[in-house]
Homo-oligomer: 314 residues x 6
């Protein structure tokens, strides 16, 4: 522990001044400073939250949003939420494009605005498909959890549905090539649910993650239909090649392919571009780094070899 009891040699004001000087020295800040090329602000987490709230109100009418929704008035509420979400999202996508923009020529910005509008249009066109997928996810959760009383409860309470709503939105944006924004959306879901699905992961219909905390689905994962995961499951990369500069080579396929009807129990770890065959079941806490044939049941060798031992402490 530092010698806290000794008197300060300098006044707090003097320390403050010196530290401010130090922090404003180029050498100190250059690696942690965001250089704003075009006077474009950072993407806003608050506004992306509003976008997600409005999209949730649109996707699940009556469950979220500021209002009861009768079928007669649904058009108004869906329409206004979607129109506002569209405008807000287009602005954020524009900021996302600028975030990675290296050109210093300010006159290109109108191009970015047009690109953002185009991308948002394509995104919105995919919402019906997203809703169709989410409806199958709801059904999967209801059928996959004996504790679920109704599908209404699933939609309103289950972190799996929350995480998948965020993921299916983020994934479509990722597919369209929108930078950063999908990652921010994914991390919001991660922070709330403990479920970390990279926006790049491709996930089929009827997906369910029970409990979910600690489950990780990596960038190049491909998941089929009616797959069920539990908490603490990792679908990760085994290792990754680096380039000459020592940086990892980006975006290579390096995560598992999980085929239809697979179940992976809690704490299982599946690493690398392996294939878990259709209908396979992977037991809890298992460590898998090679292909699993269709229909197989994989359990921990040690699971049948538990030891009952005497002794003080573990």
């Amino acid at each position: 522990m530092l010698e806290q009891s000794s008197p300060l040699e300098k006044t707090p004001g003097r320390i403050l001044e010196e530290v401010i000087e130090g922090l404003c020295d180029t050498a100190s800040y250059e690696r942690v400073y965001y250089r704003n090329w075009r006077d474009s602000p950072m993407p806003s987490l608050t506004i992306l939250e509003e976008v997600m709230e409005r999209l949730r109100a649109v996707l699940f009418p009556g469950f979220y949003g500021k209002s009861d929704v009768a079928s007669e008035t649904m058009r108004y509420h869906v329409g206004s939420n979607l129109d506002i979400a569209f405008r807000l999202l287009a602005k954020q996508i524009e900021r996302g494009l600028c975030f990675f923009c290296t050109s210093d020529d300010r006159r290109d910005c109108p191009t970015c605005a047009d690109r953002a509008l185009n991308l948002t249009g394509r995104f919105v066109a995919g919402l019906l498909h997203i809703r169709r997928l989410l409806a199958t996810d709801v059904q999967a959760a209801y059928q996959g959890d004996p504790a679920a009383k109704t599908t209404d409860e699933v939609i309103f309470c289950y972190p799996s549905i929350a995480a998948l709503t965020y993921h299916r939105v983020a994934h479509l944006l990722h597919e369209l090539g929108v930078p950063v924004i999908p990652r921010i959306i994914a991390e919001t879901a991660h922070s709330r649910t403990g479920i970390d699905i990279h926006p790049g992961a491709s996930i089929g219909e009827g997906f369910f993650i029970d409990h979910g905390t600690g489950t990780v689905v990596g960038e190049t994962t491909i998941i089929g239909r009616n797959v069920r995961l539990y908490q603490g499951v990792t679908l990760g990369a085994k290792s990754f090649p680096k380039d000459a500069a020592g940086n990892p080579i980006k975006s290579l396929p390096r995560h598992p392919i999980v085929e239809d009807d697979v179940i992976v129990y809690s704490g299982a770890t599946i690493l690398g571009r392996v294939t878990i065959g259709k209908g396979a079941v992977v037991g809890g806490n298992v460590w898998v780094t090679s292909d699993v044939p269709a229909g197989a049941r994989v359990v921990q060798g040690a699971a049948r070899d538990i030891c009952f031992e005497q002794g003080a402490g573990i």
Copy 2:
């Protein structure tokens, strides 16, 4: 990746219009739409949060809430917080009752209001018992964690106490038959602490979960006194029978019974209606699917079989 660079064939306005039409088509929304039978709004997460804040201020006077609490003025603060919490909770319970209500007859609603009031009365009557249990939980955390300096720090900072405050409230509501509300309360705690305890789980006094992230305690779990869990522990179901329609049969006992004085280390998975006998210790990352006798120490077979191997990459 989608062909993002091609021009949009339709204007954004046209896309918007078509998507809104699509989303308002009955076939599209019928499985994800909340049909509000009685013009009763959804339970409000914000108000349930306020209820929990006021209950925390009531249960731990001086730690939470808007005010210092002297013993002379405690009655005022406890009284006003509890009176407000009572009214707010009664309203939410009424909404919870309506959430699952299938009758279309609006005249029943006064009955729901009366039932909600009755249930809230019963709930409040159990608060003294909840405080007694939480006081033992505080003591258990203080004694179970060498890093804990005082019980004050435990109450103010430990996620275990936060999670148990939410759980003991949710569990009592669950016992009283209140629908949905307990689940919402449990998921709030889950989101904040990463600890997922189903409101149905029955937990004895002196319970402590250290760190806690990723720990799951299932619906029909029964936990005795002075039990200690660590992070990433699963007390889950092994499998569940389905009915003729392919839906799981709800509410059957299917989670472990954990007797007094048991310790379960991080990452252990205990599945099914097995019994972990009094004083047993379950080691980290162990996978248990059968009974463990009282006093036994269960460790991973592999734990004594770690391999030191050479080679590139894992």
Copy 3:
């Protein structure tokens, strides 16, 4: 389930009154009551959040805070954020000192205020060092994750950077002997990221935790340079001696020493004051309770012993 259908024997008002009486009975509240000796309020989570927001804006100029930051105006923004953070933090440290204060003599309080000012001065003097460390952490994340596109994305989106910003601040306060405040800061990061690093843990430069949910780093852990952890890793204590009163003896070294360049994969559990030697790699889900030599690769024995079995249910 309780007999919920029977009528209440007492009116809700009467129940309320009795419960309030009960809750204000000294015997009921004495173990869960914060006795405020000096009319000093509890530390405020909201204000500590503001302090952390301002420190993040100071440490990563341009990424956070209310404003774009040009290099010409950086001094103003860094200066005002740091000046305000200084004053707010000094007040919270004073509250922290009072939190554990047992003296009843109110005249000591000016001393506490002076001590708080002194401690805050020392803390601020360490910010340049914290930024230097965080810059190496950013680089480590960028190089350790093929999904990371730029270091900007790492700073803005990665939970590892968020958790380490909180930790490095909390750790310096802990080193200075500030009570409670470091713990509150650590728990805030824990709640948001699922990463639980005790403020006491000493962590070298270039640290990276990928995904992170469920990772736990204990109080007396010592971590070298360029260490990488994954989600669900535990660096914990094996057991702890108790004193005569049955309380654990506080603050003894009981967590691992992890040397430079070590990698620990997801779900691994390392317990006790063991040393993981320089450059060692610990595989996923492994359970380690003894030293690991430098350069070794530890994998689960069972990992090579996966069983493919037939049968219904797992």
Copy 4:
């Protein structure tokens, strides 16, 4: 001034206790206590503000509200704002009905809810008429103030339009017999603009109050078309008869009738059920208590009799 320097005879805690006792004595509070007969809360100023915000967004599309409004998407925004405003207002009207309700029979409440719904329906049906009137008010302000640049500026900035939007809404509710709510709406406008128009006042199209602060329009006032008032104008009552109990007899016609095309300059006071004839002009600071013929110009007698005098002080 009280003798502030003498020491308190009692401790603050003792004073507090005694004052609380005193304030809870029936004799002390009975005349200032709201007896809530049916557990119906007070009307909410916050929600009525939201209702007014949404109605403003509906009445003046594109000027207010959360979104840009294109003519293609107007239906969505008008529809959702009006649907939400409808529900919120119906609830507030129900509270307003309960505010004056003296029956103790709780079973009547459904009747109140139905009445509130009926009244809200009638109110909404009048919105088109309100918009027509407000459009004429905008035109009147634009033509009546040389400082007005465009009608857009008038709608967005002029207190007269704000006050009339509130008034025309409040007046329709008043006409429908809704209790209290109109008064609350009127007082909100009064507080913001300094213009105090009683909801009972009947005001024709093309009305404009320039500046407006301090202008008062009484309950039974009747104002024709194209009338213009300035700040500080009073259209008030001269005196009012009392009943046997000494209370004023309520709701008798006692305020002026102001016919079409009248102008009343700043500070003029017109009292009693007098008629200001079509096209008359009432000069500033004039005091009028009898009829003014059509086309007349009334100026202060003293206005032509200003004195230039010597001397110190006024």
Copy 5:
């Protein structure tokens, strides 16, 4: 108009820099800078607003505050609101004492804290008297306005009651010698209601100001019982002597004495230490600078001399 079309000679960044330099030059700021002697922050308008909200909830139980108040639970709500208001107000009074404090000796501050506590205790002891006065003010408004339907409406809606609640609180604090705080409270009421009553003004029971906007009651005014004012009334000073330095001599009696049962109609101006005798009536827009005998009726000379003239424009 400035020559706006010419190009800027300097970059915005350069202008900013120069202006900041200029604004931080001692000569520029010395007359508009608050020198904070003791590190005591300014009084907080937000907290004083909370104090007033809580006092209103205490004074008018059931009308304001977060909760319904039944007579059985009144003690809890009154008690907790008053306890919190007490602590908050004591802190603000301490800041108020520091606001005018010229001593540079920091060790006196505990004295200020004690003085603040003492003053707050005295203030609270006067609340019962304030409620008694306000109850008479409610009755006066009900009897003085034919538009008032019930006393409940008067309490909930009338700006006169709002202004008097603020004034009677501010006046008691002023009487106790509390600096600045009373003025801030008075200006809050002024901003909301347009009624400007100096905290020094002494006002008897049964006071009513109808409409109120623009009414001014000066510092040394003395008002008897059952007085009624209307909007735009001035009870002001005629002129004031200055000291040798040219500054006005502070706090001399210079405003009117208004005896019991007086009525003053809208726009009347009464200046100087004159006496308006018991039961006198002062007509609208009248200008009074000398005593008015008891029972007299004062009307504008011009009021009977209105001119009907022809001509274009006024």
Copy 6:
């Protein structure tokens, strides 16, 4: 009153639908619809409020803003507040330019952004002058009001200083030709203080408005040095010529010129382009429509002709 008791002929849903149809009919909305030419949002009152808050913190260091300001740290706080205010204001000015923009050519917008930046630069360059003027206004208030205890109290509490801070900012923006924004700023001050100063009014140093509610200063008014007004004073236009279309001709000089050292007492009305000569005093409630010579004292003729009359009611 409408026939409220009859049953609704249509369901609320049907009414809603019809009214929405009606409100979306072009003929209904065309005169009250803001046509947004360039997808530029309306100016934001909230952001302009933040700009004014930051400018107040800059102009009166230590009185406003989030922080204590020591002279050593003043540069940081002034700098960051001004930098942020600059950016926010530039954006609002750009919106203001678009508000009146009639061109449909979107490519001009970058020009608007540049113009806005240029105008904001010029505005900021005038802040030192604004502070100098405000310092004289503070002195004038202190010397003009015997109730003012210190200049600190004047700055912190007096509506005159608040209104002049807003006005002097709005006036400079008006001088620079910024559209709408000055008006919005002026109306904010009007709403808060009841003082309505048009941004076009030119006001010399040492200006003071005591109490202020209801005082109006028109667009083309010119006020010299050391002028003092009281509440309810009007400096207005007498009449205004109209063009062929019946609209008033905009921006002609039509308000008074008030020379140095003039005092105008409460309720006085001065109309038209008349000159009130240096040192003149205008008495309360006086109506002036012609020049007043320097040094003259104008009082109401009627002021010496008050009538004491007998009789019932006024």
